[in-house]
Symmetry: C2
Subunit: 744 residues, 2 copies
């Protein structure tokens, strides 16, 4: 406790002695002058101003409520405090932009109520978090509060008297900054989105108060945190990252993103994490330009913003890998802030302007003003999106994700690191999307965020027992067991490897990755080819999944197709009068077994209809293979799972083997014209003609064309010549693969 008292003393001294310009965090005095002089002439900004005004005016009319903290997420006090900090931030901006003192008075009055309450409350009564907060059930939300409130305080700083400021700082801000750091080192000193919020909260209130000692702590972390390396958080993630001793904001910038701007937990959490990165950086950019924060680590925040925007499907929703809620999109306020701030730093980044035009909203700060102004002279087009790799790991060598985009389809291939506590055990899985939505889904998290009825909006038990399990993904399950036997530590310690990708051919885009650690004695390599057949409306994905094993295994390859099963080429009738779960654990216990049969033909082919589009999948069958049709919802006492369908290709009792699958997008339907266009696939007769020593030859055909794919999965040398002999005939090619199409 000695250290604590010392820091408080220093802070109080600094707080009263220092003097600096305000506002400086989210707006500067110069920006305020310019915005003020341009009101009424920048339509999107004016429009936003009106929206925010009417929100805050209504809140002022409704009166202030600062309730004693009590509820979990989804409950009243949680919602109210969340609303309060957002309102204060908005009112602060409004005060600066309009000069109307009623907004400043509103912020002041609310802050004073918080300053009255804060010294008298202990930790939140819920006590459900590894880092319980005071205003909220977790420190994370308290940090959210302080990030937003710092901006509000900064805006009304000069409106307050010195004694008012002293009271707020002594009773509220400094105790809260200390609570979020010294008193909660597990929360403050991690490399994690939680700590990014903590660092930003402490750093931003430090800037607002001009408190350098707090600022240094925010930037560089606490030296001695005494955290046990085996401690975990609520999501099962480790507090400490092996080999990483740094902490604080710079360490987050150093370690949170890969060099490509990818965030290991996936885009849903990256969206959440990027806000404190940007809000704090923007404040530093304004107040400490010498740090040149937006160029830090080769402009990592710009890369992270672009990565986020490009990790969206055709509807603009983030690919829902790992713990992710569906429907979160580029329209989130974090992305609006990100687009505006990053654009304001580089007026040449027209891609961001295209995104800003789609968002049709801006933030009420200088960056938003610049963006809104630029949009007045900008003819927006749909933001360009192409196939792209995003590496993972701090140095970019720990796998990653690839988006294949071709022929109207998007495939997100995942070979990234585990993503800590929010990671799923789904090495080499993929999801498929078209502009109507999900075609082959990633389930996302079993959670209903902020919906009180569902355990207060927290992660539900089925997230662990199903959501994270391998069978819940489009990933290979060996011996009915999840990757890494569902051990986060082992999974975090090992990553898949990127092998090769080629996006240079407009007809086919491809990517390959390998995973050697998910199972003992069994390696997996998956290669996806996304083929746009110009001569038809079809787009084809060829999925080559090679399992190499020294032992006989039972393999399951699930495909979580969305929508309505239409028909298969083998009669595989549904269970009529009884359903049982597919298994007893590892996620299988949550799947009702609806249908299963032995595959008697060389190919199993079925069609489904989703979002009024027709899709088909073709599996190459080996002797003894089965398909199983299932549906989510067994062992789900509280109706937490969605009743989604899955088809599983099962191959039992073999050592090394290759699963060859073709997915074809071929047609559409209209409920108004009732006309189906191309309800049946164009391609069939999928054959694995050769599969030896890493060499694959496969073929498929339509009524008038024959296609052949030659592929060497073991070399990435683009100049190497390959030759295989199949049924006495020689096939030669140069480089990793060769795809040929011939008329019949």
């Amino acid at each position: 406790m000695r250290g604590f008292i010392n820091i408080v003393t220093i802070v109080l001294l600094l707080g009263t002695l220092a003097s600096s310009q305000h506002p400086i965090l989210n707006l500067t005095a110069e920006e305020v002058t310019e915005i003020n002089g341009s009101l009424g002439s920048v339509p999107l900004f004016d429009q936003q101003l009106e929206v925010v005004k009417s929100q805050v005016d209504a809140a002022i009319a409704g009166g202030i409520d600062v309730p004693i903290p009590k509820d979990m997420a989804g409950g009243y006090t949680h919602g109210k405090h969340k609303e309060n900090y957002k309102l204060m931030q908005k009112a602060g901006n409004l005060y600066q932009i309009t000069g109307d003192e009623s907004y400043a008075a509103f912020v002041k009055e609310m802050l004073m109520e918080y300053a009255e309450m804060y010294p008298n409350i202990g930790r939140h009564p819920a006590n459900k978090s590894y880092a319980t907060g005071k205003i909220f059930w977790q420190c994370l939300n308290d940090a959210n509060w302080l990030v937003f409130t710092s901006q509000a305080y900064d805006c009304i700083y000069d409106y307050l008297t010195e004694s008012e400021r002293n009271k707020l700082e002594a009773d509220l801000f400094i105790p809260m900054a200390d609570f979020l750091s010294i008193e909660n080192p597990r929360f403050f000193n991690r490399i994690h989105n939680h700590s990014t919020w903590a660092n930003a909260a402490v750093g931003m209130i430090a800037l607002a108060m001009d408190n350098d000692s707090l600022l240094q702590k925010a930037l560089h972390g606490m030296e001695d945190d005494g955290i046990d390396p085996n401690e975990v958080d609520n999501d099962g993630g480790y507090i400490k990252r092996e080999g990483v001793y740094q902490a604080g904001f710079f360490a987050q910038l150093d370690f949170a993103f890969s060099p490509d701007g990818y965030f290991a937990e996936g885009p849903y959490y990256q969206r959440y994490a990027i806000f404190p990165f940007l809000a704090f950086s923007y404040a530093l950019h304004n107040s400490k330009p010498e740090l040149d924060i937006f160029n830090y680590r080769d402009a990592i925040l710009k890369k992270a913003t672009h990565a986020l925007l490009l990790l969206t499907d055709g509807k603009g929703n983030f690919f829902p890998v790992n713990d992710a809620m569906k429907g979160m999109s580029y329209q989130a306020y974090e992305l609006i802030t990100a687009v505006d701030i990053i654009y304001s730093l580089d007026a040449n980044d027209e891609l961001l302007l295209d995104w800003a035009a789609l968002q049709d909203q801006v933030t009420l700060n200088g960056a938003g003003f610049i963006t809104a102004k630029a949009l007045m002279d900008h003819t927006p087009k749909l933001p360009a999106k192409i196939s792209q790799n995003f590496n993972d790991g701090v140095d970019g060598t720990e796998g990653g994700v690839t988006v294949l985009r071709n022929g109207g389809l998007e495939v997100l291939f995942k070979y990234s690191t585990q993503g800590m506590g929010h990671g799923h055990f789904d090495r080499l899985s993929y999801g498929m999307y078209d502009d109507s939505g999900e075609i082959i889904q990633d389930y996302g998290a079993v959670r209903w965020v902020n919906i009180d009825q569902k355990a207060g909006g927290r992660y539900l038990p089925e997230n662990k027992t199903f959501g994270k399990k391998t069978i819940g993904h489009n990933a290979l399950v060996v011996n009915r067991q999840s990757h890494f036997n569902s051990q986060v530590k082992e999974a975090d310690d090992n990553h898949p490897d990127f092998l090769y990708s080629d996006f240079s051919d407009s007809q086919v885009n491809m990517v390959s990755a390998i995973e050697k650690n998910a199972y003992d004695n069994t390696d997996m390599q998956r290669t996806l080819f996304l083929i746009d057949d110009d001569s038809s409306e079809s787009t084809i994905m060829i999925d080559v999944l090679q399992a190499t094993s020294t032992q006989a295994n039972n393999y399951d390859l699930p495909m979580w197709f969305t929508g309505q099963f239409l028909k298969g080429n083998i009669d595989c009738p549904k269970s009529l009068t009884m359903l049982s779960p597919l298994g007893e654990d590892d996620g299988y216990q949550h799947i009702w077994k609806e249908s299963s049969c032995k595959l008697t033909e060389d190919n199993y082919q079925f069609n489904w209809l989703t979002n009024l589009r027709f899709y088909s999948a073709t599996f190459v069958a080996e002797q003894g293979d089965q398909v199983i049709l299932g549906r989510n919802g067994a062992n789900d006492p509280n109706f937490n799972l969605r009743p989604d369908p899955v088809i599983i290709h099962r191959r039992d009792g073999v050592k090394s083997t290759t699963f060859l699958t073709m997915v074809e997008s071929h047609g559409q339907y209209s409920s108004v014209t009732e006309i189906p266009i191309n309800p049946y696939p164009k391609y069939h007769k999928l054959r694995l003609d050769y599969d030896k020593d890493g060499y694959i030859m496969c073929s498929f055909e339509s009524d008038d064309t024959e296609w052949q794919l030659l592929y060497c999965s073991t070399s990435t040398d683009e100049t190497k010549q390959h030759k295989i002999k199949v049924d006495g005939e020689s096939y030669k090619w140069t480089g990793v693969y060769q795809l040929t199409k011939n008329s019949k």
Copy 2:
């Protein structure tokens, strides 16, 4: 066969002797002149012209194919012939409007191919219809072909030489008209949408050929059809309607619609049926103005068009009662045609212009041109929709449907006649909708129209075993048996009765109807009150379902809510490891039983989330009541059913009883902000305070208000004074009901 030969002879004579103006069916020469002079000045018409041009140009470039008929709906030959007649009709219009002879040549060439083929084909090989066609598997599609082709022929009539016309008429049109009438009396001489198509087909080709004898047959039917009154069609509907001996187009106009323009099969089929009504009437309007056809039966076609438009939900989709496919809407070409034709007859009908503006398409005829021109000076608004009754039966006394619209909700209450072979056994059922879609659904038909994988697009077996059954609807099931024991004949012979409705109060709209024949010894009355609580965001529906019986019954009241079950106030856990069907027949065999429990509280209340909206339902429970949660899909070998959820309120072993249910719309959620607004209902403590001699008193409350509903279900006298004594206290009111709200 003697009659057949005679008619052909007369027709040939008339065909060669007569001479009249062309075009006259879908366009007139005067209209052509006017349109021609205005090209480039009426944007919507010009735009439509370009769309159609590019379609037809592409077809001309692609070449003509008139394949030998072979396939069912969904197959190639079916689709091709359907495409062909639509193309011919479009090309005919284009020829007239643009004067470009290549369009006429295209129609001529295609017609000649049909004339070559037609004499050489017999009945369609599928042989699956009660009236098998020649070009298609059913006469119905052949009639579609002839309706469209008549318009095409009329457009190029003057382009053809006399000998070309003679060939087409002798080899194609007259044999086809005879085939659709004389050779298929069951198809031609019914009161049914099939016969409307048949009458229109024969009548329109008669007008195109100026063949009066065929025209008379089309207008007045065949006198002697020799049909057995017990014959049924493929849908189980009776060919003949009891007591109706008329046939032909006038008889369709007389019997198809109720005086309010409602069509007994429901809006989905009304949409399908209205096209031949309008296409033929428009041709008669142009060529036989003396018939004054659009004023026939008090302008029944105008009423039918308005009824159709008003029987749509907030998204413009038809309420899917009876055999209906979901998603069919005001955007269907039949409705575009209807809106344009009816508007062109009455320029004061601004409501239709609002619909035309929403459609943003017009037909390529004089009516479409008038509509497009009128839209240039029209400021469109959302078409007005209010609560409304639509009576059923030829004289309007056989029940009907009511749309209640209040507080953002729409409820379609169904107490109409059976609707012949396409009717469902769901007396007094309802569906609930908001502007996001279905909240409490009507399942519609178990069918995937035109999707070949699903039995060629035909009705599936589960339509009979589930789709039509009472348990598949939001309707009361007595003793686990469907209404009328699923007998179409009995159901057709009996109708529910409308009792009372009141839409005069903006706070509450209500309707009541009664059904006395669905079960022996048990009558049902249902009264729905849709209440807009101005003081909150809630809208409430109070559902009073009174069953009056002389015997003890087992009652099931299903509610097919859509979306995700969130939580109930009683712990009613889901079956974990085994699912069985809810019963063995009458639709129960298709529902997996997921959960059930005895109701131990006075109220069972649960919430669900659908389309990001929060809803709750509250059931008043009596001693011994149960709730059952189920899901569709048992005994469904071919995955024909959607896996939709249902909750059933079960009350067994009682005689007369009242089910009192409250449904509340109270909140919404955003996947982007993740903020739930009002996730919990405002209202609770639903009580049935009094239930005797047809008098009902019920009450419910929020935290700050108490509501009371006093209702006399046995009198519709609005001036009558009522008095009941409840727990020693007297309650008085005047008229059918009284709703009061008091602060606590």
